[in-house]
């Protein structure tokens, strides 16, 4: 006979077991309500991307039938996809929300930020973001960051304390035990809160499908003028592409992430429906950031370094 001391039970999970999506939803709602209960001025970072759209949906469910007790904050790089801005404004109006905008373009125009030689504006978001947090005295800032996105994010707490300069110190994080989130902070400090910490890209898409959440159309396959740069399909536009040696072509593409046009690449795809998108992602051999984000490829610790400075 065997010498195993295993007790593999044949019994199935109890009828009280939640599906993984229900478990993730319940956890995220708990996080939203904790923040509502403990903070004075929380805000949701809202980019019009799928993660922030799911956050907004969860917040609506968490406080139903009352309104969401938070406002929204968009860091506008000046190079956003028009479809996404249109979506943002429509959602804000539909739910009667208050939207704050921190504008990278305004900082550049005022001479407070300088355009980078590579043209990407993603790292430039940090200063307008952190200054807006200070000037509006936000004490809790919801972000749609997921731990599956990147290895530095895998180390992020759900409640992540930032100092008065919005800095993240990965070596001095508070241990996070059970579901007892510690949101205490000194005046000037704030807490970044990540309700989707335990979600994966696939979870987000499945949830969007299950809940019937509307998304900006750029997430679905469509014909678009794009050109090749650093192995990615970028959208041609006034932001600075294509250069003389880059040629524009019409391709059937879609986006896996939504960010600044200068560093967010499209993927070749014929997925025009949610089912098709889910099938495509389940079979993909690339992570979403690996497939479409130039800024994470800058160095091995690019995300960690930006997060230390206050990036979300």
């Amino acid at each position: 006979m065997t010498t195993t001391v295993a007790t593999v039970t044949e019994e199935t999970d109890s009828p009280y077991a939640l599906s993984h999506l229900d478990a993730l939803e319940s956890e995220a709602v708990h996080i939203f309500r904790e923040v509502a209960g403990e903070f004075e001025r929380p805000v949701i970072l809202f980019s019009g991307g799928k993660d922030s759209i799911v956050m907004l949906h969860l917040a609506l469910k968490a406080f139903a039938p009352a309104a969401i007790p938070f406002s929204l904050l968009h860091v506008d790089t000046g190079h956003n996809f028009p479809e996404v801005l249109e979506y943002r404004d429509r959602v804000v109006a539909e739910h009667g929300l208050r939207l704050h905008v921190a504008s990278v373009q305004e900082y550049i125009d005022a001479g407070k930020l300088r355009e980078r030689p590579d043209g990407t504006r993603n790292p430039l978001q940090t200063v307008p973001l952190t200054e807006k947090i200070q000037s509006e005295k936000f004490d809790a800032v919801f972000g749609g960051g997921r731990r599956d996105e990147e290895k530095a994010r895998a180390k992020e707490r759900v409640f992540s304390l930032r100092d008065e300069f919005s800095q993240w110190d990965p070596r001095r994080q508070r241990p996070e035990l059970w579901q007892l989130y510690n949101g205490r902070h000194a005046p000037g400090e704030h807490v970044r809160v990540f309700p989707l910490s335990n979600w994966t890209e696939l979870d987000v898409w499945q949830y969007i499908d299950r809940e019937g959440i509307e998304l900006p159309q750029i997430y679905f396959a469509h014909e678009r003028d794009v050109f090749r740069r650093s192995g990615m399909w970028l959208t041609a536009g006034e932001w600075g592409g294509p250069k003389d040696d880059e040629t524009v072509e019409k391709r059937l593409v879609r986006y896996r992430t939504v960010g600044d046009m200068s560093c967010t690449g499209a993927v070749d795809s014929d997925a025009t429906t949610l089912d098709a998108v889910i099938t495509e992602i389940a079979a993909s051999r690339l992570t979403e950031r690996g497939a479409t984000r130039a800024d994470d490829k800058m160095s091995e610790a690019a995300m960690e370094d930006r997060k230390r400075e206050g990036y979300f």
């Binding site: 593999v8 406080f63 007892l180």
Partner: protein, 457 residues
Amino acid sequence: MTSTTEPDKAQPLSAEQLSATTLLRFATAGSVDDGKSTLVGRLLHDSKSVLTDQLEAVERASASRGAEAPDLALLTDGLRAEREQGITIDVAYRYFATPQRRFILADTPGHVQYTRNMVTGASTADLAVVLVDARNGVIEQTRRHAAVAALLRVPHVVLAVNKMDLVDFEETVFAKIAEEFTAYASELGVPEITAIPISALAGDNVVEPSSNMDWYGGPTVLEHLETVPVSHDLTSCHARLPVQYVIRPQTAEHPDYRGYAGQIAAGTFRVGESVTVLPSGKTSKIAGIDLLGTPVDVAWTPQSVTLLLESDIDIARGDLIVPSGDQPGTSQDLTATVCHVADTALSVGQRVLLKHTTRTVKAIVKEIPSRLTLDDLSQHPEPGQLVANDIGRVVIRTAEPIAVDSYAASRRTGSFLLIDPADGTTLAAGMAGDAFAEAVETVEEAKKAADDEGWDF
């Protein structure tokens, strides 16, 4: 939906298949060179959860360090300092999935000075994997991991006896280690122990059954993770709802709506049930339950819900709603075991904040009767203070009465944090009641378990 031209193996799962799966949270623990990173890397890799660009990044980084083969530890060591020092300094969370289940893995460092990290990982885990090196057997560190799992009441413990290839896949080596560990862990009250002989490096019994160990008839690590029951029978649990937030829309559509929002910490609640609100002791009946906007008749842990009560009584964040007749005691004196997680010490007489469920109250550390030595479970009396990574008994006096269950009865309503009121630092993780399961329980558990088919020594 899915294309029929694709070969079976590449056939992705349908959305329906994917969303019907359950979630298992588990933690890994092992000493520095037991091969924990390799096991984690193997689980991620063999379950096809490592994607091409991640593997390429690891290959690039490994090559730039002059390594010949890709170092899978780089997949999991995410911080600069970790990569520079080649050690894991903090808990990281990993995600992977099989058609049966989704997994959240708390990857906890094995270093002695990071006991607090294993406590962090174990606090939310349904299962803990304790890794040992087959050549070394059960060592001090193994006993420490078992003790932490027992202390945190992790329901399932897996002993993964690694590096079986280095002991010629000998059954007797495995059997001896499994027996020694099981005896020790059972004594601590660990309810269920599964021992699996593996070689993480070669992949034996991690995802695929090993042809090198025909004598082993049990599951692989992944099979076990996929089949271990995650939820227990909740009908016998004490129902608990800590009130997080009061929802009052005060709109024309909902002028009188007053809902008590929270995540059910334990048990089930039903419409029509009589409930008592603690600490006030006022009673009412459940008039309705909203499950995120949808009315339901019954709800259970860990669902986030909103309860509507028949009578208009004063309830605020921090109150606990329980079934009338099934109440925890309320008290200002609390005896508990704490794991000290901060760099500054915890001393007798210190004023702290105590966060229990959704309630934070002022408190004072009245006594520290003993400090536990995890290696041999001996008690060091009256240590005066606890420093980082110490585990000790404490007696705490709170400024207001709180309704605390024993941690043995409810991990969620029996746990608490001690917080430094000056700067908000989390000082300690607390568990109310007895530290380890009573010896009598252990005997009963062992008897019950011995009757189960799976037990076969």
